[in-house]
């Protein structure tokens, strides 16, 4: 049962990553804020890659199938015999298929990014400080009241510049 949320601010990425690893070793579940996309933080926190890629694949397949459906389907529905050429002329249709694959895959990527990142978000994120979008890395950890002094010591030992705590 967690009673306290502790937020520590670090001046660089390495210290932040090191602290995340130590907190995970202590069987805690830290979260992080960073001003840049950090591969090291991601690897320290997650074992699986983002599920966005599955949505992009699905969007791309959907787009490609839509491209075939639009071109072949409407060509047969509005049968236009141009100089005896085949009604369903695949080589030129592949251009439409390709463009729709890209379009739907890209849109699926953006929408799934919003969905998994929980954007747009209207409420303030607990523990967030304006420094975390600029020049500081943040580690957030929830812990029991009885453990807070031990965690604080751990954070200080890891190089935290500033530590704040708030009751949950």
């Amino acid at each position: 049962m967690s009673d306290v949320r502790m937020v520590a601010s670090f001046p660089d990425e390495e210290q932040c990553v090191h602290m995340i690893e130590r907190l995970r070793e202590a069987r805690l579940r830290p979260k992080a804020f960073s001003p840049i996309p950090s591969e090291k933080i991601r690897e320290a926190l997650y074992e699986q890659p983002s599920r966005v890629r599955a949505w992009v694949l699905g969007g791309g397949i959907f787009g490609a199938l839509s491209g075939f459906a639009i071109t072949i389907g409407t060509s047969y529905e509005w049968n236009l015999n141009a100089g005896g050429k085949p009604i369903d002329s695949l080589p030129p249709y592949l251009i439409i298929v390709f463009e729709l694959m890209i379009l739907c895959g890209g849109l699926a990527g953006l929408l799934s990014f919003f969905f998994y990142s929980r954007l747009p978000v209207l409420d303030p994120t607990p523990g967030y400080s304006e420094h975390f979008s600029s020049n500081r890395f943040g580690v957030v950890v929830d812990c029991a009241d009885t453990e807070s002094s031990r965690i604080e010591a751990l954070l200080r030992e890891g190089g935290a510049e500033e530590i704040t705590s708030e009751p949950l």
Partner: protein, 454 residues
Amino acid sequence: MAAAVSTTTAQAPTFADIDREVRRVLNPGGLQYWAWICFCLFFVLIAGALWTNQVYEGLGVTHLTQPTMWAVYITNFVFWVGIAHSGTLISAILYLFRTRWRTAVYRLAETMTVFAVLTAGLFPIIHLGRPWFFYWLAPYPNERSLQPDFRSPLVWDFFAISTYLTISSLFLFMGLIPDVANARDAAKGWRKTFYSIMSMGWRGTDRQWRHFSMAYLLLAGFATPLVLSVHSVVSWDFAMAQLPGWHSTIFAPYFVAGAIFSGVAMVLTLLIPIRKIMGLEDLITPWHLDNLAKVILLTSLIVSYSYICESFMVWYSQDAIELATFHQRYWGPQGYLFWMMVACNCVIPLLLFVPRIRISAVWLFIISLFVNVGMWLERFVIIEGSLATNTEPSQWRFYHPSVTEIFITVGSFAWFLMLFSLFARFLPIISMTELKEGIQWLREALRDNYRRAA
């Protein structure tokens, strides 16, 4: 290691230095800035008035007539689509290759892409006699027995350009989110509200970055083949036609190389004044200019090779009609346009073999202007010149643009520059996030500059 704190010197910028420099650009523009915007708006309004007159009077106010039914408007369309391409090259293709120098210039290039495609998209509509029917190109079921022919390159264009505009806009928007959140945290008043809406509540949490990185990587992966396909499709507008001067198998790679060539030149045309006016010399260093110049040099050589190759194939085919068209292109009444094009695109860029010129902002700015002119002329020579000297010599007739066409062309440049200038003052024109990611490269570049200066 991406260290956020170190000694603040000009040679070793920190995260805070980068924020301060980029946020400084977001300050409200002064009188000169708004005078520039009004100057651009003036030409946009003139172009709008002339276009309104064209819609009312009909296409007779242009000098479009048989056999040159495509001329300045379609030249502008191809030119602006081409300009867009380098933005995607720098933002997406070089991102996949993890190219170090792109971080300071990619946002500017990507912004240029979006506004260039927006400008390009206007011209097929401006070129229509009845522009209110432009939606007939869209493939939707209707009851007039009208169905777009998917075998037509013009329909491919519709799909390619609209997809390109959408994906480029998404890519620009996604990349902006963390930077706008950064600007939001330092802003006050209406700007804070504006940036809060734009950033959608971004906080830079590990969850957000995890999905952001994957989505951004995949969008870059999609944008890469897209950019190659779009200008190939544009080139097929011409290459699929049975017209001497157009019907050529090398058009796709030739147009793509030309697009990157003109686009990188336009990046420099925009970048150099912005760098000077906004005092961004410590973020956009001679190292960045040098690398952009090398891309121009490489693509200039590819374009020069394409001109030679195209001419060789005409000579080798010994096709009388092709030979006649190309003879007119080189030595006909408008041959001076072809030789100006060769000078601008093939000869002047050779100056970039000199390392000193590659890091000189003044020289690069001048060369980039020549390349812009040369690449516009290239499209005009191909489009108008080939139509003017078609397969029937009895129909040959050279075209000269009307006042309407000239001012609509000028208006398109004003429109593009106005949009770009507004963006540069209200949204981060340099990606703070990516500069911080590659801060050690920026430090190396600055140290190298200081060493050279010493």
